[in-house]
Symmetry: C2
Subunit: 416 residues, 2 copies
């Protein structure tokens, strides 16, 4: 039997047993995992050195080496994250509604685990822990398939988590990592219908497209973010500047950062010079339409149609003047990736219109798009940000890792 | 532009406009559709005759011709179904939760349409109406792709629905049927990412497998039902007989009918003769294991391993004796399709154990599996029964055709 099939079968069997594991046992296991990660950090660091040596030998670029690198302190932060998940309420078992039918049947809707969750991700060893413990907290078995660049680190981390969790009473087979990091095995994982109940890709555009194109198991598409801030003619200019700058430069590499700024023409003469100066001071490259360059062109490139479709994840911002809120909404709904969109306005009517008509996971009035995040939303954790509409949308907390089951109490009812 | 791409683009544009259409306008459109179906039934019947003539010329089997046939009365029933959907509460716009974060952001979770829903189905013209009106009620645009056997009927029905709905203020492009019934076009529909937000196959195993294997858009898998009734040693024999007979013979062709009967060994000597006699009298072919044939073998075939995997949808029942509830649950979780499962027992402990440990969309104590249905569950309607765990599970009512959006009210918040 292949490694993949063996681990899928073992995860499926474990998932069946996990439905009878109590919250207490799961929490004890999470505590044991956190402790073991700290206690055995030397093992993890030794494995991580192997990955780093390989990365350097293979000429991997600096940014990826940074993401790959673990230290005692980073491991402690990861372990602290496990304790935060432990502290969250267990969503499993909650009956979110129960009703009685005229024939006396009592029907309840109960929150249950998904079963087996597959996660395909790139070279961040912290995802190995995050993903495994979020699945464990929700009584799901997990099959992780991380990038080959982090395989030594991931395997060491997984061994430590397995020892700790299984020692605390979690069924063997609950936690799995695929050690064969070939592309073929990843593609096979995407087609394990009957074993995988949900597959979550975490990573760049290429990875997500590959999963969406190849998977036959149910997928939650995550995280491309072509986000906009629209500064309305009725905006407070100070608030608008603060929000635009935060959405663009506070952390440009992430999916909830802004990529295009739309400005109402009626505010442009005053606002364009102010915001372009501030952006340039912060080192942001501006790519703007002709109308805004007519107001301020110094060091400002011309935007192409492509720019409006681009998620830069960098110190670059596209800019366009629009003729009021209708054009702003039409532009956003045409170019966005349904992630996070913000309006800055003092108009009640336009705020409501923007909230209603913009199609995105999170729509903001007078706040930065940067808040689209499981922690910032109060979910305590997240496994990714869904940009599809099925199953989960926006930050995916613990509930996004659950399904439901109808439990029906009868006393002899048959259908007439 | 191909017919498919044109209709997808037009549906996407309509979906955007549908978010601003009121419940009143939608309900008026549903009433107009119901009226028009009755008033223009001669048009539908003329088209239906074309389909029936083709079916007979092509030697289509009797059962399919029955499903294809429309009469004035059947059209009236379909129109009455539209009025029932009109009477349901509109789920769109409900804010199912709102909370305030420490930084003052108010975050609400609002129910919104999916956008564009694709439905691929076989030769039942009533599905054309059901699917279109359930999507319309939930402010979704729909793209229907029915079987070629019903294309004349479906096209006539669609034209009538479009006239009625667009006349009542629904945006043009909301209702679509693909007139090109080639397999290639169906496969293209499954890959229209960026246009189709959810794809629902309704039909037989082959259709569903084709959609699951080929689709790159999000899919809800529906309706294969290999359902079980487990008669426990603590069951009331009279209740058990009534439930088994109802689950098997009340309507054997549907997905929530029982396909395998499991009997606790401790009850077998008494229960096997009673139930086998009753089944044979009802014309049910029994395929049983050796242990039950040792009790009653007259006219009872031997069950093969394959029988336990088979959804007969017919007057056939597989039977197996099991050694108590653990073996029953293990058998069900191995062979079932996660649809509907029932236990008959008077034991509180075993009832709870069965509800907890059996993995299925609907799990019953002391009731027939035949109740897994949107109407029987009180949802008022259904578009299918999901057998996957993502997004929706069990009967899919109006809520299953919705997504959510986070609406965030700020007053200048930025992320630190």
């Amino acid at each position: 039997m292949s490694e993949l099939l063996e681990k899928c079968a073992s995860a499926k069997a474990a998932a069946q047993r996990l439905v009878s594991v109590s919250t207490e046992v799961k929490n004890n296991a999470l505590e044991a995992i956190a402790a073991a990660l700290n206690e055995r950090s030397d093992e993890i660091l030794a494995a991580n050195r192997l990955d780093l040596e390989n990365a350097e030998a293979n000429g991997i670029r600096r940014a990826m080496i940074d993401r790959l690198t673990l230290t005692k302190e980073r491991i402690k932060n990861i372990a602290d994250g496990v304790l935060q998940v432990k502290a969250l309420a267990d969503p499993i078992g909650e009956v979110t509604g129960m009703w009685t039918r005229p024939n006396g049947l009592q029907i309840g809707r109960k929150r249950v685990p998904m079963g087996v969750i597959g996660i395909i991700y790139e070279a961040r060893p912290n995802v190995t822990v995050d993903a495994a413990v979020l699945c464990l907290k929700t009584s799901n078995a997990s099959i992780l398939r991380g990038g080959k660049e982090a395989i030594a680190s991931n395997t060491a981390i997984m061994r430590i988590m397995q020892d700790a969790a299984y020692g605390a009473g979690i069924p063997e087979g609950t936690l799995n990592i695929i050690e064969d990091t070939s592309r073929e095995t990843a593609t096979q994982l995407m087609k394990m219908n009957g074993y995988i109940d949900m597959l979550i890709p975490r990573g760049g555009k290429g990875l997500i497209k590959s999963v969406v194109d190849n998977a036959t198991v149910p997928v939650v598409e995550t995280a491309a973010g072509n986000c906009h801030v629209y500064v309305d003619g009725d905006a407070d200019p100070g608030m608008a500047e603060k929000i635009v700058m935060n959405a663009k430069v506070q952390r440009p590499s992430v999916c909830n950062a802004a990529e295009t700024l739309l400005i109402d023409k009626s505010a442009a003469n005053e606002f364009v010079p102010v915001i372009f100066n501030a952006l340039r001071e912060a080192g942001v490259e501006i790519r703007a339409d002709e109308a805004s360059r007519a107001i301020y062109s110094d060091g400002v490139a011309a935007a192409s149609e492509d720019d409006y479709y681009t998620e830069y994840n960098d110190y670059i911002l596209a800019v366009k003047l629009v003729d009021g809120i209708d054009e702003a909404i039409a532009h956003i709904n045409k170019y966005n990736t349904k992630h996070s969109e913000a309006i800055v306005t003092s108009s009640y009517e336009k705020a409501q219109k923007f909230l209603n008509e913009v199609d995105a996971a999170a729509v903001y009035v007078n706040a930065s798009t940067r808040f689209t995040d499981g922690f910032e939303f109060g979910f305590g954790a997240e496994i990714g940000i869904s940009t599809q509409k099925m199953h989960a949308r926006g930050p995916m907390g613990l509930e996004a890792l659950t399904s439901i089951k109808y439990i029906v109490y009868g006393n002899g009812q048959i259908r007439g």
